[in-house]
């Protein structure tokens, strides 16, 4: 299998990673390491049939509780301006397709924003309301609501222009061996997907289902919560949820997942 060879090549490629980072965007060159576009698989493909059914049937998908909570919050006025999300955006369905292009660079704020960051900014700047902490139920609910509007649409983030340095930083992190176990994201999710790690089957580590209802958590969580768990898995000190480092990593993950359909709210083990 081609994937095996890459792992060995990567081990000796610390220096050439810097070069790779300077190459064009994900999936555009033959030299790009990782998973070929035709082999891209959602985490859904690695689930037991019952869990998959739980995700697909929205009437039993527990993540829909957060989407419905998000619908309530969407209509509630908040902050000094006494405006609701609905006051400016109308129906949530008006934001169909938005989640597919996040994280995105905002030229005015000069920042890379993921969906949570965008919603936090609307809350702060446009509603002049108290910030919603990352991983709070309210932010998860609103993010799930907005991402759910794009369910089925293919991920398609911009990676050129001002997004380029963020993509490079995210990609570098993906290939850096980390933690006391000194393992990179790529070593699990590019080189060993489909294999077993104790009781779990390793997926490709795709970001297309978040916020996700995870059975182990018994609740809905953000992509950053999941990423922090992966950092902890290799005994590395994780970056904070919502930190620029994780948003850059999220951009690389989204570019690497280009074309995969959004599944929010996904259900995972």
């Amino acid at each position: 299998m081609a994937r095996r060879g890459r792992r060995a090549a990567l081990g000796a490629a610390g220096a050439s990673l810097m070069l790779l980072a300077a190459l064009p965007a994900a999936g555009q060159t033959a030299t790009e390491p990782g998973i070929a576009a035709g082999d891209r698989k959602s985490g859904r493909d690695f689930l037991a049939p019952e869990t998959r059914a739980q995700q697909d049937d929205l009437s039993i998908n527990p993540g829909m509780l957060w989407v419905e909570q998000g619908e309530k919050l969407w209509r509630e006025a908040a902050g000094a301006g006494a405006k609701a999300c609905a006051s400016c955006h109308g129906d949530p369905s008006a934001l169909k397709g938005v989640a597919a292009r996040y994280p995105a660079y905002d030229a005015r704020l000069q920042r890379l924003l993921n969906l949570e960051g965008r919603i936090q900014n609307c809350r702060l700047e446009h509603q002049r309301a108290a910030p919603l902490p990352y991983e709070s139920q309210a932010l998860l609910a609103l993010t799930a609501l907005v991402a759910h509007q794009s369910r089925g649409l293919p991920l398609n983030v911009a990676t050129k222009g001002p997004a380029r340095p963020f993509l490079a930083a995210g990609r570098a992190m993906f290939f850096t061996q980390q933690g006391q176990l000194s393992i990179s994201c790529a070593q699990c999710h590019d080189d060993n997907w489909g294999k077993r790690l104790r009781a779990e089957r390793i997926s490709q580590g795709q970001p297309n289902g978040f916020p996700t209802y995870r059975l182990e958590w018994q609740t809905t969580g953000s992509l950053h919560r999941r990423l922090r768990a992966c950092f902890q898995g290799v005994r590395a000190e994780p970056f904070a949820a919502g930190s620029p480092e994780l948003v850059a990593l999220e951009l690389y993950l989204a570019a690497r997942a280009r074309g995969l359909p959004i599944e929010t709210p996904a259900v995972r083990r």
Binding site: S59, I60, P62, M64, L65, E68, Q69, L215, Q218, T219
Partner: protein, 106 residues
Amino acid sequence: MPATRIVLPARARKGEVVEIKTIITHPMETGYRRDHVGLAIARDIITRFTCTYAGEEVFRMDLFTGVAANPFVGFTTLATETGEVVFEWTDQHGTVTREQRRLVVV
């Protein structure tokens, strides 16, 4: 207040088997876990779920600490007459979460 999600058809033919699905947000805290400083987390669970249809109980279930958070319960009943379908979740403190839907039978 827990959030609930109920799925059942708005109408059914007399004699038809109707599928009903419910979820409620609830931690279903077992009482066996400890927090980050080692203190026991108090038990907090739903102990009973019932469904009545046109005044008659059609489903009842006792829940225990082994049930995961945000319990999903699905069951079926026979469409007999047009009436209210009432769902009640009772927690260990006796607090009741109640939801109601109308089933029209033609």
